[in-house]
Amino acid sequence: MKMRSVAGALFGLLLLLPAHPAGAARGQLKVYQGELVSPRIELNDINGQPHSLTDYRGNIVLVQFWATYCTPCRKEMPTMNRLIEKMQDKAFRIVTVNMAESKQQVLRFLDEVPVNFPVLMDNDGSTLGQWKVFAAPANFILDKNGEVIFTLYGAIEWDSPEMVEQLTALADR
């Protein structure tokens, strides 16, 4: 009985611990070691305006590939809105690319989840193919020369103090 009590107490303690303690790899930027070199984006946004990634040179850029059926994408987009507000004086931009869904689907989503950054439309999926995107959300952090320096799979709180600090350090470099 005593052993069972001790075991129960330990189990209860485990339940109190955070699921992803500080320092865990989950939700952190990962240094990119893949093969993408100066990846390009030449797409129109949801309003039909053309965008080129080269227009963003000189900024740290968060490029995110997302889809309306991606539940984590829906949850994290408000945190990206807040991030861009917190970083408005910095050399930092966000560009998102929808993964080949219809304009109608994307507009319906944006009606529910308004965003304050460009939403580009990869109508035939060719851009996400070039970027080797096979999961969503797929995030890339580009340096001021347009090279991928970090990646991150999955949703996070982009406006967390730690992330803002990390991105600010990159933007101020």
Binding site: G129, W131, A138, T151, G154
Partner: protein, 255 residues
């Protein structure tokens, strides 16, 4: 641990109980004992037929979509076998557990059914993580030399990556991908990022000679028929899962 202790060279010893339970005339349960200590229950739906399906599923409750689909397929002239690979090892019916099933047990079950069925053509069906043991089974040398009546495998929204692909990197699959010789037909949901990996996956699956075809199922996400949060389109596709399987087994048969 139990899975690891099992010897790899498994001998089928006997077929037990050919018709114990019958909720309808054409539903029976038999069991296969492998190597004296692993008893695999095999549920059968439908009368003996020219076409048989061996469906590896982690979801085998009485009200499961898989059983319900098998009942509909019986009306279309299929006999469907459901080997319960999990209960044999006292594992709960979870997608994460189905991937732990030993390949040699999959091979033993398929070879046994090939030996005892009079069907002219036999197909394997697996969804989501159940594609893992099926591909491992197909990589077994005994399976590669199996009867020509084994026409291949239909993989419905297979989840066979070692882990979620990192942004900017090609997917990495389980080791058994690319070791099969039988035809494979992959169905993937249109509303899942995995669809963009289909060309890469098809090329990987075909490395040892399998003829591979991949198609999208419009309007659904991955493993749509197993989801608790189905959309209307996914619920509709689930109701028509028998038609989806029927149509695609015909395509698989012509590869």
């Amino acid at each position: 641990m139990l899975l690891r202790r099992l010897p790899t060279d498994i001998l089928m010893t006997m077929l037990l109980l050919t018709a114990i339970v019958s909720s309808s005339r054409a539903e029976t349960i038999g069991s296969l004992v492998i190597n004296d200590d692993v008893e695999i229950e095999i549920r059968q739906f439908g009368d003996p037929a020219a076409t048989a399906i061996i469906w590896f599923a982690c979801n085998q409750g009485e009200d499961s979509v898989e059983f319900e689909t098998a009942r509909k397929l019986a009306g279309k002239g299929y006999r469907t076998y459901f080997p319960d690979m999990l209960s044999a090892h006292f594992l709960s019916q979870l997608p994460s557990n189905i991937a732990r099933v030993p390949a040699d047990e999959v091979a033993a079950v398929v070879l046994h059914i090939l030996q005892h069925s009079n069907a002219n053509q036999i197909y394997l069906v697996a969804g989501a993580r159940a594609a893992v043991p099926v591909l491992r089974g197909l990589a077994d040398k005994r399976m590669q030399q199996a009867s020509a009546r084994l026409k291949g495998a239909l993989l419905i929204t297979p989840r066979i990556n070692q882990k979620t692909p990192e942004p900017g990197a090609e997917p990495v699959y389980i080791d058994a991908v690319g070791l099969s010789v039988h035809p494979l037909l992959v169905l993937e949901g249109e509303r899942t990022p995995n669809r963009w990996g289909l060309p890469h996956l098809s090329a990987a699956l075909a490395k040892s000679g399998s003829k591979v075809r991949a198609e999208l199922i419009q309007g659904v996400r991955g493993y749509f028929y197993l989801r608790d949060d189905q959309t209307d389109a996914e619920a509709e596709m689930t109701r028509n899962l028998d038609l989806l399987i029927h149509d695609n087994l015909e395509k698989l048969g012509s590869l």
